[in-house]
């Protein structure tokens, strides 16, 4: 059986109540589901002996600007046993801007989630140390949101005197 079909079959067996939306583009599989189930699905994908997605490449978010669910948190994971890349997506709305942290599943997600918080303002529940990553702590905005201008907001970052 094709590995992609194996993944979908296993996920549907284990989580019958969760609605999975599958897309395939340029030979890459993307699975989208509700953000409540993220930790369960990720732990299953890591622990399952057939699938073994033990390596988390990347955690990031996309800002869609004018849509109802403004952000989408994207997880790129990789299975070393089968040399297969998978992408998981979960929508996050601006009014309820938080999602559970997967740093308990993969430690690599720890700093990636901090970076996503810094750039987009999405809070991760149960994260061991949620601080800003790149911008100074006193910075009040989230740079990668679409409403933040490229040149920044004058006066938001202080400069020493000449």
């Amino acid at each position: 059986m094709d590995f992609k079909e194996l993944i979908t079959q296993k996920l549907k067996e284990k989580f019958p109540s969760v609605e999975f939306e599958l897309t395939e583009y340029r030979d890459e599989l993307t699975i989208k589901f509700d953000k409540k189930f993220i930790v369960e699905v990720c732990s299953f994908l890591k622990a399952s002996l057939d699938l073994e997605f033990s390596w988390c490449s990347d955690v990031t978010a996309v800002d869609w600007a004018n849509r109802k669910n403004r952000f989408t948190v994207v997880y790129n994971i990789f299975s070393m046993k089968h040399n297969f890349r998978l992408r998981l997506k979960a929508d996050v709305d601006e009014s309820d801007c938080n999602i559970d942290s997967v740093s308990s599943v993969w430690q690599a997600a720890n700093w990636q989630e901090r970076e996503t918080y810094d750039m987009y303002g999405i809070k991760f529940n149960n994260h061991p140390d949620l601080r800003r990553m790149y911008m100074p702590e006193e910075f009040e905005y989230h740079p990668l949101r679409k409403d933040f201008p490229l040149m920044g907001i004058p006066g938001s970052l202080p400069l020493p005197k000449k």
Partner: protein
């Protein structure tokens, strides 16, 4: 064929104070490498055997500001890094000069974004702006030679703090010990 062969061990050299100080200063410029990003690699290349900077008198690149007189800011300075650069500049003793190496320090370079300072002359006085992204090591050596020319023309009395300090120093009274 040293100086001693000419002078035959006796004799005096007379010169102006300004000239001897300028000659000593310009031929022993020790740079403080503020290496932040890609230009720092070209600065390292200036120190390597092919483009040797030691033959210009910059024998060591001391990483402590207290022993340097030239700060080469190499790399993009962000708003977060700017107070650090300013602090290191303030820690350097007078007289000091600054080379803004590369496009990023001169004017922000190719990074027109929210976190990059568009030119370090907003918070530091700069003597030489070097163009290039990154400037070739030959370019940096040319800048060093221009700084040496500039130092050669500076008179000792032009340095702001030194002239007044000299008048206020009184030498202590030392006991003369005689060896009989």
């Amino acid at each position: 064929m040293g100086l001693e062969a000419y002078l035959k061990d006796t004799g005096f050299i007379t010169t102006q104070v300004n000239a001897i100080i300028a000659w000593a200063r310009k031929n022993s410029v020790w740079p403080m490498p503020m290496g932040i990003s890609c230009c720092a690699i070209e600065m390292m290349a200036v120190g390597d055997p092919k483009y040797d900077i030691a033959r210009f008198g910059s024998e060591v690149m001391r990483f402590t500001p207290r022993q340097c007189d030239l700060m080469i800011v190499a790399g993009t300075v962000t708003y977060k890094m700017a107070p650090v650069v300013r602090k290191i500049y303030d820690q350097m003793p007078d007289p000091k000069w600054v080379i803004a190496m590369g496009a990023c320090t001169s004017s922000g370079g190719m990074y027109r974004s929210y976190s990059v300072v568009q030119g370090i002359d907003q918070f530091l006085p700069v003597d030489i702006y070097l163009a290039g992204c990154p400037p070739r090591p030959d370019n940096l050596i040319h800048a060093l030679m221009k700084i040496q020319e500039k130092i050669g023309k500076t008179k000792a009395s032009q340095f702001p703090n030194l002239a007044s300090d000299v008048k206020s120093i009184t030498l202590p009274d030392l006991n003369v010990i005689q060896n009989n």
